[in-house]
Symmetry: C2
Subunit: 240 residues, 2 copies
């Protein structure tokens, strides 16, 4: 999302209004919650990164990567027990957790928490909406670029050479985020590396944001979906 | 979404806590807000239906259809002025609107409004997430079926013959909801009509939900995306 400073200051931070809770620590790849251990409440990431995925018809799809100060587990606020969501630590991670009752009681004491949470969730809805748009409008190679740009914006750290560093993410995790296969992500990451738009190792992905944005815009002019009618209509007919 | 009664009762309704406002009336196809008339606040639909769409790179994508008691315009809560969203009445429609300041003041007076809004937004996030999953997991023909089932669940009315009636929606609107082209929607709607799963006219779409759910599940077993690797990898390579 491209938010100016003005916008960043224009909403409340839920963390300001949440009482302290004991810190829980999770090792790399450790499960925070899943089908067997349902989500007990709203979490905040203190340190590290968490991958949140939902399962649909038995296999994992779309993930969200939550880093420091990000919230997850918000479906606990409505007790959505028929929803299978899991959260796994990507790094050594520490979190705090508030049950639905904690949140309800705190909102009674501190009404601005309700406003702050609503604003946080509106931003999350916009981010999800943007991902839907990306899926509807862009073809897979552009969706991989867009996902990397989004991740750079949300969990990236600026480096001395002007690149933005995203801590190590497997191609499977990126594929879950994009909504495509691991093979396509690997193919596209190689292509972007050859184009000099990123560098990656097992430790990190360094993205040259302005160059990637430029390449994204340039390629996009030539290949945004409409006239997607042609390609996807053929595909839809072929799928029958 | 498949929510049991238990879940439906498990969260607060924001409308309980919002003060009355003057009712605004809009004719069919009339613009409620758009690029030229930015969204002034959070709306509720009193009567009728509203189509909310966002523009990305100049053309409209994914819409949401909001019916009686549904909220829209929530991005006004964070003042997302860089976001181009528009809302158009699909039927003769009446709405109420609260500015961001109205909402903030009301949350101070009535903290449970903040909780209710948060819960409403969590449900909206889940719905968006499910649409992302649908796009990642299902092929277009199934996404059309799923969209019709979702619309039946959210804006449909049960009929005497066991079908669920969705008031008239153009194929363009359904295409925007699915994230595909009008042509594909027309093709698929015809196919579903031939299969006896729906009936449609300019006035309404009647969906035989149980039969469509059954067809969806049966076809789905044979065609869910993984091994989407094959089809979409070929497509991604072809797109280079």
């Amino acid at each position: 999302m491209s938010c100016g400073t003005e916008l960043v200051l224009a909403f409340e931070d839920p963390l300001t209004y949440l009482p302290r809770k004991p810190i829980q620590e999770f090792g790399r790849r450790e499960v925070i919650y899943d089908r067997q251990h349902p989500c007990p409440g709203l979490y905040v990431v203190i340190m590290g990164r968490v991958k949140v995925t939902t399962s649909s018809d038995g296999f994992e799809t779309i993930g969200r990567i939550v880093s420091s100060e990000g919230l997850f587990g918000e479906s606990a606020l409505i007790g959505a027990r028929d929803r299978v969501e899991s959260a796994v630590a990507l790094d050594p991670t520490s979190v705090m957790c508030w049950t639905r009752t904690d949140i309800e009681e705190q909102i009674e004491r501190e009404p601005r928490l309700g406003l702050a949470l609503s604003q946080y969730l509106v931003r999350q809805c916009i981010e999800l909406q943007e991902r839907i748009e990306s899926m509807a409008v862009h073809k897979t190679p552009h969706r991989v670029m867009l996902a990397l740009l989004q991740l750079a914006g949300s969990v990236g750290v600026p480096m001395a050479d002007g690149s933005t560093r995203i801590g190590s993410l497997t191609h499977v995790t990126i594929a879950e985020y994009v909504g495509t296969s691991r093979e396509i992500v690997t193919f596209q990451m190689n292509r972007l590396r050859r184009m000099g738009l990123l560098r990656y190792s097992r430790k990190a992905i360094d993205i040259y944001e302005p160059a990637m944005q430029k390449a994204f815009r340039e390629q996009d002019i030539n290949s945004t979906q409409p006239p997607r009618v042609v390609a996807s209509q053929m595909a839809a007919l072929a799928e029958l």
